[in-house]
């Protein structure tokens, strides 16, 4: 164990803990853009700089390991000056379109500029201009808003392991690009949207079908219904309608696939089945659940009586949970009396 002090508060943590993690244990929040505990240490955005033992150089809290007797100041004068300067520099090449920006309300850059009182940039220099890449069906890439934290590239490389995007050019011209700048649709991108989920600004964002502001939504934690993995996700709901999905902590380690992340429109589709249908007079007609179960039970009984349990086969779905699948085979074997039961998840 290592004992150190952060803003005068003593804290004891395990060896190899970072300053950022140590601060979190005593409720001290240090701002970050590029940090994500799932990724290898990166230290690129420099917004999490802190002062250590009054030293001149300002190390970043996200990658600096603690040591015995360390004295950390997280909001000292030098630190605040550096953070303000970094925000100023980021804004110098970032369009101030917060009024209409889709990310407003959930933008880390906006939050930190508010926290440190940066209203606008003090620089009037060159800006980069990029065409927005709309070629992907589910999300767009607007490099004009990118702050080059690199999280998207790292998530794609280290977690999703698709390697669809990377850094192009150097220095001020550095930007996130697909191979040969051919665009997202020509890349190996699988549209998982995990880059979109980690982007702190509006550089990678879902193509919204509904206009909404983040503060108008309510988060509903749920389990993805697409397959049996059980990914945890937050549905962002506005006026009783799901408008976006964000990955949540769980078995999925805050990752989702293209279906979980983007394919939620069926929820509010007019053709979605909400009631059982029973064919009457040659036409499918809405019926009550009681009526539907009565019909099913009636037909099962009559078929079983006439043809025996061997006439039945059961097929279950990968979209059901393990428990549901278990119940299904139990039902087929115990209630119906057949071993003809199968599952769709096979290649």
């Amino acid at each position: 164990m290592v004992t150190l002090s952060i803003n005068g508060q003593r804290v004891e943590v395990e060896q190899d803990t970072t300053v950022l993690e140590a601060a979190a244990t005593i409720g001290i929040k240090i701002p970050t853009f590029c940090h994500d505990p799932r990724l290898k240490p990166h230290g690129s955005c420099r917004i999490c700089v802190v002062e250590v033992n009054g030293g001149k150089n300002l190390p970043t809290a996200c990658v600096t390991p603690v040591y015995e007797g360390m004295e950390v100041e997280t909001e000292g004068e030098e630190v605040v000056t550096a953070r303000k300067e970094i925000l100023d520099l980021l804004l110098a090449d970032h369009p101030l379109e917060c009024l209409t920006c889709e990310k407003a309300g959930e933008c880390t850059l906006q939050d930190l500029c508010y926290q440190y009182g940066i209203e606008r940039t003090s620089y009037d220099g060159e800006r980069n201009h990029y065409e927005i890449d709309y070629s992907n069906d589910f999300y767009y890439s607007d490099q004009n808003k990118c702050i080059k934290c690199g999280k998207c590239v790292m998530v794609c490389d280290q977690l999703q392991e698709t390697h669809a995007i990377g850094f192009a050019e150097r220095g001020f011209e550095t930007h996130i690009a697909t191979p040969m700048e051919r665009g997202l649709s020509e890349s190996t991108c699988v549209s998982c949207g995990n880059c979109v989920s980690v982007c702190p600004v509006d550089a990678l964002a879902p193509k919204k079908k509904t206009k909404f502001r983040y503060w108008e939504t309510e988060k509903v934690r749920t389990t993805c219904s697409y397959c049996g993995v059980g990914c945890q996700m937050d549905l962002l709901v506005k006026d009783n309608k799901v408008v976006e999905v964000q990955p949540a902590e769980g078995v999925n380690d805050r990752m989702l696939c293209v279906k979980g992340k983007f394919a939620f429109d069926f929820l509010s589709h007019p053709n979605r089945l909400k009631m059982p249908l029973i064919r009457k007079d040659g036409r499918l007609q809405e019926a009550s659940w009681e009526e539907a179960y009565d019909t099913i039970i009636g037909k099962i009984n009559s078929i079983k009586e006439e043809n025996g349990p061997g006439a039945f086969a059961g097929l279950t779905s990968a979209r059901c949970s393990t428990e549901d699948n278990y119940m299904m085979q139990k039902f087929m074997r115990a209630a119906i009396g057949t071993n003809s039961v199968d599952h769709c998840a096979r290649l």
């Binding site: 240490p41 230290g43 955005c45 300067e85 970094i86 110098a92 220095g171």
Partner: protein, 598 residues
Amino acid sequence: MELYRSHILVCGGTGCVSSDSLKIEERFIDLIEKNDLKNEAKVVKTGCFGLCEAGPIVIVYPEGAFYSQLKVEDVDTIVSEHLVKGRIVTDLLYKESIQEGEMQSINDVGFYKKQERVALRNCGVINPEVIEEYIAYDGYEALGRVLTDMTPEEVIQIVKDSGLRGRGGGGFPTGLKWDFTAKAEGDQKYVACNADEGDPGAFMDRSVLEGDPHVIIESMAIAAYAVGANKGYVYIRAEYPIAVNRLQIAIDQAKDMGLLGENIFDTDFSFDMEIRLGAGAFVCGEETALINSIEGKRGMPRPRPPFPAVKGIFNKPTLLNNVETYANVPQIILRGAEWFSSIGTEKSKGTKVFALGGKINNTGLLEIPMGTTLREAIYDVGGGIPNGKAFKAVQTGGPSGGCIPAAHIDTPIDYDNLIELGSMMGSGGMIVMDEDNCMVDIARFFLDFTVEESCGKCTPCRDGTKRMLEMLDKIAAGTGTVEDLTKLQTLAKTIKNASLCGLGQTAPNPVLSTLHYFMDEYEAHVHEKRCPAGVCKALLNYMVIDEKCKKCGICAAKCPVNCISGTKGKTVYHIDTEQCIKCNACLEACPFDAIKKG
């Protein structure tokens, strides 16, 4: 072994090669053959002699005749006069080698006299493509001694005791680095050589690799033995084709002789190495970016810790030293730590190679003991400032260093003194400036370089250097404000304190040092809209001095934009400053010095 009465050493360094030294070599071989001197005179292509200003260079021994700035046709004269008749061709000698009518040997020439060559000892002496020549100069003896007589701990102790510090810029104690790597846990360890020399104007590493490649192989093998590695990488930029080629030849020769490979010197020690080519990014000289590049990734720095000694190439403990650092090691082993530490100052031991350039008579490479003063380097070795101009400042450490003004010219050069003055040793670039250099312009020049070379990873360096350059551009254009001067200082401080790697942390140095020592020049640009050195074009105006004008009209004839009016022989000429493009043609053309700028 054959004996020759004459040895003709032809410089095969990049500078001389680009001015046809290979054709000179060919011509010598050809004419020696024709004159039937094949058994008497031998042509040796060597590495760089250092005095690139005087290239192409040929030295003929035993006389030590130092022929400079030769043309291919001069070879005919040297062969017919010097080699055939024994008469030294005085007209072709380097002019400083003739004192009072007598020819001096090369070692007595001012440029070489104060030098002490350790890292460069074989450059310009042996043929780098012949391993026997290296061996004849005690090559591989240190490796033999280390492998057969010494434990790894003893080797590390000698390097520690010598006081050798990293020559690539940081000045970290080399022995300590070896010790860390030796103590790091790992089944596989690597040694690597940083030959990604990127500072504008610095070429000492190239020179060592071109002139004495075996010293790097030998030294890396010694290091590998000391730290427990069996594999080495040399990371060289692809823009150094001659160095790459000669190192590869050297590696192949060493393998053939069993000096690389399995069971070297019949011991249990095995070591092999290979070359990795860099694509020319300055940042790849930074150790963690270099490691990424060796691994095949984009050259971007990683956060430290973990340091390469713990997690380096492919996350294995890696010892990474610079070319010049390695070049010192075999001599330290052979001559002892005490010998090495007797050279230099208290905290900077040994010698250091500098690449002298800019406004200096002897442009080239020099190796001087640490503690030599800037004045000695510039005036005694460098031969002073051309055209009788006044010395203004010297920039050391390339784009990471700073400008040291004339007031500090008597400072002894070592790591700590240079840092104290707001500059740094860096890899040893030394650019001399005279009264005609504008310090705002100099700061712009270096910053322009770092802006181009920033890898783009961290915010302060990527965006901060860009904004600093924009402010300097404004100042040079005469639109800078007092706020810009303040802003430059605060921004520079943030970039220095908060950047990820050494490139960003040192990038503001040229700006900070010029602001510190030459604030008056910045203020002249901002307040008076004037460039005191007459460099910043936007602030210059060309005018005819009426009293001096002889109405000849030459200026008007030379003006490419026809902005000079007057009548020949009748009226004094006048320059329309609105139209003038400040090309300086009129000023150069006027025979009567009747045009001034300011």
